[in-house]
Symmetry: C2
Subunit: 330 residues, 2 copies
């Protein structure tokens, strides 16, 4: 059952290399200078024995676990594929920096944060999908656990936050439509439920979209069931007969919007233009496929991990980082 190399300790490596255990430690960590010959011998012994330091012992002695936690909002209506990309990106970047990633779910709540902080099982934490009013944020402040948030809580004072630049995303969409020669444009917004939880980001899209465009641009909120979408689009066209461009920031509604436009006699891609804020799949699943601005999950994750590592190393990081949106044409 147990293979060879089971239970190889630093002492084994040391004796094989003919040095003290502390020397092995210094070779591995590089915290003191070691002669090249000794270092070589040690590295050889490490390789021969397949030595990996015992994570618990290391964490006990060095007060660094080499693990970061990632708390995901697994339970609610968030877009699962995006979460997965996020997790993937975070793990990949973390491993690049020799860290492991502990997965937590948001339903552990503040108590979960207290637990991981006190047990020193992780060195720091990435909190995803932060809401405007989030009890975990308060707990985080209290615990003093190094952390990076994805999203912006109401009071971001003293916290490190990373997010997509939603205002820029709105602007990019409006600009795209304008460049296509659309005079009158509109933004079909998210459903009420989304706004309720995370006001900030929907508003930022809105502001970016409107910019200084005046009455030629409007924002309409919209539920996401087929019937409401159909009605909203109809009303919108009635209200703005010259409407030539539409940005949709409401994933589930995109398909219905396309139907409604077809029913209204609009030829998307020809006399009418649509752009989506949402995941690629949503924009790819329509006919014709639509240009879109996506939430760059991998980039966000990488940035978050990098920021966290810098914090752990005592370097400083900007309080707030906004990722530039990218428009994908199709």
């Amino acid at each position: 059952m147990a293979g060879p190399g089971r239970g190889v300790t630093i002492a084994d490596v040391a004796s094989r290399a003919g040095v003290a255990a502390s020397t092995v430690s210094y070779v591995l960590s590089g915290k003191r200078s070691i002669s090249p010959e000794t270092a070589d011998r040690v590295m050889q012994a490490v390789a021969d024995l397949g030595y990996h330091p015992h994570a618990g012992a290391r964490s006990l002695a060095s007060r660094r676990a080499g693990v970061i936690a990632m708390m995901l909002p697994l339970r609610d209506g968030m877009h699962l594929p995006v979460l997965m990309q996020f997790a993937s990106g975070a793990v990949t970047e973390a491993r690049r920096q020799d860290q492991d990633v502990l997965l937590m779910t948001a339903d552990e709540g503040p108590a979960g944060l207290a637990r991981v902080a006190a047990s020193a099982i992780v060195d720091g934490l990435i909190l995803m999908d932060v809401e405007v009013r989030d009890p975990r944020v308060e707990a985080l402040r209290r615990l003093g656990l190094p952390s990076v948030l994805i999203g912006f809580p109401a009071d971001a004072e003293g916290l490190t936050c990373v997010d997509l630049d939603f205002a820029a995303a709105g602007r990019v969409c409006a600009d795209y439509l304008a460049e296509r020669g659309c005079g009158e444009i509109a933004l079909l917004g998210a459903s009420e439920a989304v706004y309720a939880r995370r006001t900030g980001f929907a508003e930022r899209v809105r502001e970016g979209f409107l910019g200084k465009r005046g009455p030629s641009a409007e924002v309409w909120p919209c539920p996401d069931d087929p019937v409401s979408v159909q009605r909203t689009v109809k009303e919108l066209i009635a209200a703005k007969p010259d409407l030539a461009g539409l940005a949709v920031h409401n994933e589930p509604a995109v398909g219905h919007v396309m139907h409604a436009l077809a029913d209204a006699g609009k030829l998307v891609g020809e006399d009418f233009h649509v752009v989506v804020i949402g995941p690629d799949e949503v924009a790819e699943r329509t006919h014709p496929q639509l240009p879109s601005v996506l939430v760059p999950a991998e980039t966000l994750a990488e940035t978050a991990v990098r920021h966290l590592m810098r914090k752990l190393d005592g370097l400083d990081v900007p309080d707030s980082t906004l990722i530039e949106p990218q428009l994908t044409l199709r």
Copy 2:
């Protein structure tokens, strides 16, 4: 920055409760009997101080990390939402058993397994999306790291595997169609790419579907692009003019299949029946919505975690566990 309760150790708890540190440990682990009065006093001290044992120290002394690893195939074409459900289910079940979950990606490969095994950072491991010929399986055997696999490798000897009972899933679909009075039925299979990697599971569906039905049931493999689906369906109907029921085991093709059937004049839900093997969303996105058998990600994850925990506790578990498929009517 650092809140109160920072660095509370077992010694602090012990002195506050007026007992020895070892007594605190025994109260917490229940490994020796302690008088109720003492236990109460200790628990009170624990609560007062917000004590959580240092994970590294615990793992060093007890040779149990309280963490299990989960290796996900994050990089390839797997269905992301299902993976996420899986991760979610695993974390939830693990926490229920006081374990944490470390997330790994398949691209760490066998070396990654060696690393986590040797560093004792985890006690065991769940390997997702195991392929028929998987180098990690071999590594796992060599390492003797307690593990549970999702899926079946070619040689499952001595391993603990969990998966959906795909043969039963095929049978359930065929039975459903038969009950609807369909005399002639067919299974539209997966694309070649899927078969190539994981032969086992596609074949099991096929066998379950065919059962002892003889020539009234057939299996047709099918690529997933719109054109090929259209052609395949057309050929199928030409070959079996009395075809009245179809099972589709090919997620991306489902939408196209519905179009093709409509083109062929079949009224799904009335004179023709379709059932899907795949995620709920795929079956819900069609008109009409279709009955389906899904891969029960949460159940699989829970089962895997429970089996792993039993193994870690030295209890025995079945080598092979097949989860009963569930047909969701719509």
